[in-house]
Amino acid sequence: MLAYAAMIDDPKEKSRFVRLYEGYQKQMYAVAYRILKDQMLAEDAVQTAFYGIAKNMRSVPSDDEAQIKAYLFTCAKHAAFRIMEQENRQKSAADQLIEIYADAPSAFSQVEEADDYHRLVAAIRQLEPIYRDVLLMHYVYACDLDEIAEKLQRKKKTVKQQITRAKKQLLVLYERRDCV
C-alpha cells in the first residue's frame, strides 16, 4: 500500500495528517463499523478515507474540532457506503432517488443567507443524509466537485446532480411552514 504520508510534501501538513490519524482513527472506525458490521471492511473504509484525506489535506479544516470531526466522519461514512455497495453490488439509495423537487424555484440564496438557526436545523434534519453531506462538503469545507467526488467516493457528475437536488430539496423543506 502506498506510503500516504509520503504523498504529502509539506512537513507541516504531514505532521497534521499524523495527528488526525492518531486522534480520530478509532472513531472513524466506529462510524464505518456501524455501517459495515465487519472489522476488516471497516478497517478498509478507514484506510480508504485517509487515502482521500492525504490527497487533499488543504480541504481538511485545521482549527475547529467540530468541523474536523464532521469532515473525517463524513469521509469514513462514505468510504464505508462505497464498500457496502461493492459488497452488495447495489446502487445506493441516494443515486436512485427520484427528483421530486425538480420544479422547486432556485432561490437557494434565501437558505444560504437565512438567520433562523432553528428553522434551518429543522429543515436540514429532514434532508436525505447524502444530500446533507454534499452540502456540508460544498458549503462548510468549500470543496470543489472533484474533491467531493473523491471524499464521498462518487462520480463527479453524480455529485453535481446531488448538490442541485440537495439545494432544491432543502429549499422546499425550509419554505414549508410545518418544518419548525
Binding site: M1, L2, A3, Y4, A5, A6, P11, K14, S15, F17, V18, Y21, E22, G23, Y24, Q25, K26, Q27, Y29, A30, V31, R34, Q39, M40, E43, V46, Q47, F50, Y51, A54, D63, D64, A66, Q67, K69, A70, F73, T74, V111, E112, E113, A114, D115, D116, Y117, L120, V121, I124, R125, P129, R132, D133, L135, L136, Y139, V140
Partner: protein
Amino acid sequence: MKALSVFQQALLDVTLESYSDIPAEEDIDVSFSPTYLATMRKLSRRNSYRTWAVRILAAAACIALIAAFSIPALRERISRPGSEVTYALTLSAEEIAAAPQEIETPITPSYTAEGYQRANAGDETGRYGISLSFVGPAGEKYMFSQSVLGDYAVEADDSDGTISLIRMVEDRKHQVLEIGAYEVLAVYPEEEDATGPVWYYWTDHAYIYRIYAENGEQFSQVELAKIITSITPE
C-alpha cells in the same frame, strides 16, 4: 478562523448530531488487525529516510536468480527457486501484533566493518526506524537499519495465520545464511554480478534489521557476521 454563517453552522451541527452515538476516541476498545496497523503506520510515517528504504525494498523485490557463492566460515541453506512468488522471514500474526509498534529500544551494531566509519550525514532516527550509514576509504557505503515488524508485513497466509516480511518475486533465488542465532536472508541483484548491491535481512521477532551493501564484495562474509552479531541495545 473564519466564523461560519448560520446556514453553515446549522449544516455542521446537524451532521455532528448524526454521529452523537459515536463514543470518544479513548472510550473505543478495538484491536486493529496487524495488516491494518502496518498499513496505517506506513500511512502516518514522517521520516524521509523511508524514501531510500522503500526504494531499496522495491529494488530487492525485482532481483533475478544468481548463483550461490561459497561461504566456508558459515553454514548456508539454499532456498529452493521456483516459478511462483515466495516469501521469507515468516512470523505469526500474533508475534507481529505483540512486537513493538515503535522503536522502543534502539538496537545498532557495535562493530563497524574494518576500514569504515560512520557517515553520520546519512543517519536518520524516527519513531518507527533507525538508519545508520557507514562509508569506507574509497567512498563505498553500507547502511544498517532497524525497523518495526509491522512495516514489513507484506502477505498474510490465512491457512496458518502467518505473515511474511519479505516478498520475493518469481524465479528469484536467494540465500538464507545462518549467522550466529539469526537466519539472515541475503538478496542479490538481478545480474549475476557479485559486485552489485546486496541486501541482508533478519529479525529477532521484535524488530527487522537490514544491511544494505552497495557492493557485494566490499566486505567479507566474516565482516558481515561480525556486524550482525554485534548488534546490541543502545
